[in-house]
């Protein structure tokens, strides 16, 4: 059999989760030449590489789209800020956040649009984060500025674990970085408007420690269970 005819067999076998060693063994047992088998496997590898690239492009486009929409939502709120009563502002923020999260969940779980759904969930979390700062400013809540990032992270982590989203877990890391860098600078560098004696900040930092530890540990247990013996 020429390699073109071996390609569907190799593709199906790999999709079924069979190892390459098994595939080679089977085909060699059926008296196919090693060069033909290698050519067929290489052809399937090329296909999957192309597919990976296409998936990555779609993912990048969706993530950039989500960020642009988030920027648009905040620009809209900011430009109409003065003309809106407080209740309306909070309703707009919470409403947008809920709509995006619900839409994301439905798209992903009900309609099978995995990447588009993830992009909506990401958008929901971005609006949630922006909302924290807008509400903080609106009600003049007395906090240190990195606390907003901790609150954002504290919301993103459970959401990410609940919907099992790598995008959201990845979003939590740069958010955490702002708080991790901002607090020591405030404590020892004397940033304007930063109070080193605000106990809320300490409590939030402790919550952030526990939350990040729990997230890391939960995912780690899953990884260890899925890859026994590979983490030595």
């Amino acid at each position: 059999m020429p390699p073109e005819q071996l390609v569907p067999f190799v593709r199906t076998a790999l999709t079924e989760g069979r190892s390459r060693e098994d595939i080679y063994r089977d085909l060699l047992a059926q008296s196919h030449g090693l060069a033909d088998i290698q050519a067929a496997v290489a052809a399937v590898d090329g296909e999957s590489h192309k597919e990976d690239t296409q998936k990555r492009v779609v993912r990048i486009i969706l993530v950039v789209g989500a960020m642009l929409v988030a920027a648009g939502v905040f620009s809209f709120i900011a430009s109409n800020w003065q003309g809106m009563p407080r209740e309306a502002r909070v309703t707009v923020i919470v409403g947008f956040m809920l709509i995006m999260n619900v839409a994301g969940w439905f798209l992903r779980e009900q309609y099978g649009y995995e990447k588009t759904g993830e992009a909506f969930l990401l958008l929901g979390s971005l609006i949630y984060g922006g909302g924290i700062f807008l509400v903080g400013q609106m009600y003049n809540i007395r906090t240190n500025w990195p606390d907003g990032f901790i609150l954002w992270m504290l919301g993103v982590i459970p959401m990410a674990l609940a919907v099992n989203s790598r995008y959201l877990l990845a979003l939590g890391l740069p958010i955490a970085a702002f708080a991790m860098v901002g607090h020591p600078i405030g404590l020892y560098g004397g940033t304007a408007g930063y109070s080193g004696y605000l106990f809320t900040s300490t409590l939030l930092l402790a919550a952030a420690t526990l939350s990040a530890l729990a997230a890391g540990y939960v995912i780690r247990r899953k990884v260890i269970a899925e890859n026994p013996g590979t983490l030595s």
Binding site: A179, L187, G196, T209
Partner: protein, 359 residues
């Protein structure tokens, strides 16, 4: 002065970590040159990063609690506690990212403490260079010992990689003309025995290094050549901390010179010695890679040699040659270097593949 020395030393560590991250990234993309990728999947990567974040938050929480209760802890003590927690957590949940970060944190902690011990004294600051250097050498030996155990192979690798990156990075920095200025200032002042904490720390580091090196040599985890290299480095560090102040490191520059001062006889000797040590270290890594059949060591040595030649060219000749000649020559050197590196690497990898497996 001490403060600026600490800042300068800490500045070494940032590029070291960056280069380390790049090496680690490429190594991961390849699935691990020695078949020991540092993360097995993107979930693994995320879980390890979250554990790093948790450890960092723990340190910041300690700082914040301390501030709330009237500065109970110094910031460096919070750093120490966070690093110890990071190491414990890293081993407990087998998260390799935590190990080099915690180890670097421990080194930074020691540098800050030593800086505060030396602050306000006339004691020479060579210990601030010797201490981290000895600690990184100790990590190399500990890494080689851990690599022997199948369960801790990746952890051992992280010690070795961090050690090589750091030692090479420090040597790179002090071998340049800017680094030599910093290096010259290390000799000024009284012997460090006046500050017992520093003397005791260095003694502990040297003894720990010698004991672990002898142990590793006895267990055949370390080759005689590697042990020789470590002894050479320890000797160099001891010379640094014991040698009397060097007169004539810098002399006034000539009338038409760019700078008010230039390297004197002692400066030239030390410049040559440091550059020679760096070159020998890189060649040592190259042959260690060949001997141990570790492809990443060969690649690391090749990239470092490339950087070595590039940096030396810019460092030594940039003020001497006309710009066009400078760039043309630089281009030719780079092309020649790239070609010879590719050729040499291919030859070494072919020989490694053909050579019989060591017992």
């Amino acid at each position: 002065m001490t403060f600026w020395l600490i800042i300068a030393l800490l500045q070494f560590l940032v590029p070291i970590l960056l280069i380390g991250a790049i090496v680690v990234f490429f190594r991961k993309r390849k699935g691990g040159a020695a078949g020991r990728g540092i993360s097995v999947s993107s979930e693994d990567n995320l879980s390890q990063l979250y554990l790093v974040v948790a450890t960092a938050f723990f340190g910041v929480t300690l700082m914040s609690v301390s501030r709330d209760f009237g500065d109970l802890l110094r910031p460096d003590t919070a750093l120490l506690l966070a690093c110890i927690a990071g190491l414990a957590l890293g081993y407990f949940v087998r998260a390799i990212y935590l190990i080099p970060l915690s180890l670097v944190g421990l080194v930074i902690w020691w540098v800050i403490r030593a800086g505060s011990w030396l602050d306000g004294t006339e004691v020479r600051t060579a210990a601030l260079l010797a201490g981290p250097f000895l600690l990184f050498l100790l990590m190399y030996v500990l890494g080689r010992i851990q690599e022997h155990s199948a369960s801790w192979k990746r952890f051992g690798w992280s010690y070795v990689a961090l050690s090589l990156l750091s030692v090479t990075g420090i040597l790179f920095v002090i071998s340049t003309s800017v680094g030599l200025e910093l290096f010259a200032s290390l000799f000024e002042g009284e012997p460090f025995f006046a500050v017992w904490q520093v003397a005791a720390s260095l003694l502990v580091f040297v003894l720990a290094l010698l004991f672990t090196a002898v142990y590793a040599l006895g267990k055949h985890e370390l080759s005689t050549w590697e042990a020789g290299g470590i002894v050479l480095f320890v000797a160099l560090m001891l010379v640094l901390v014991f040698i009397p102040p060097q007169d004539g490191f810098y002399v006034p520059g000539g009338e038409y010179r760019h700078y008010a001062t230039e390297l004197g006889p002692a400066g030239y000797v030390w410049g040559v010695v440091i550059n020679l040590v760096l070159l020998l270290e890189l060649l040592g890594i190259l042959f260690a890679g060949y001997y141990r059949r570790e492809e990443w060591l060969v690649n690391f040595a090749m990239i470092s040699l490339f950087l070595f030649i590039l940096i030396k060219y810019f460092d030594w000749f940039s003020t001497m040659l006309d710009r066009s000649v400078f760039f043309t020559l630089a281009g030719i050197i780079l092309i020649g270097l790239g070609w010879s590196m590719e050729r040499g690497r291919r030859y070494m990898l072919r020989s490694m593949a053909a050579a019989p497996q060591l017992p």
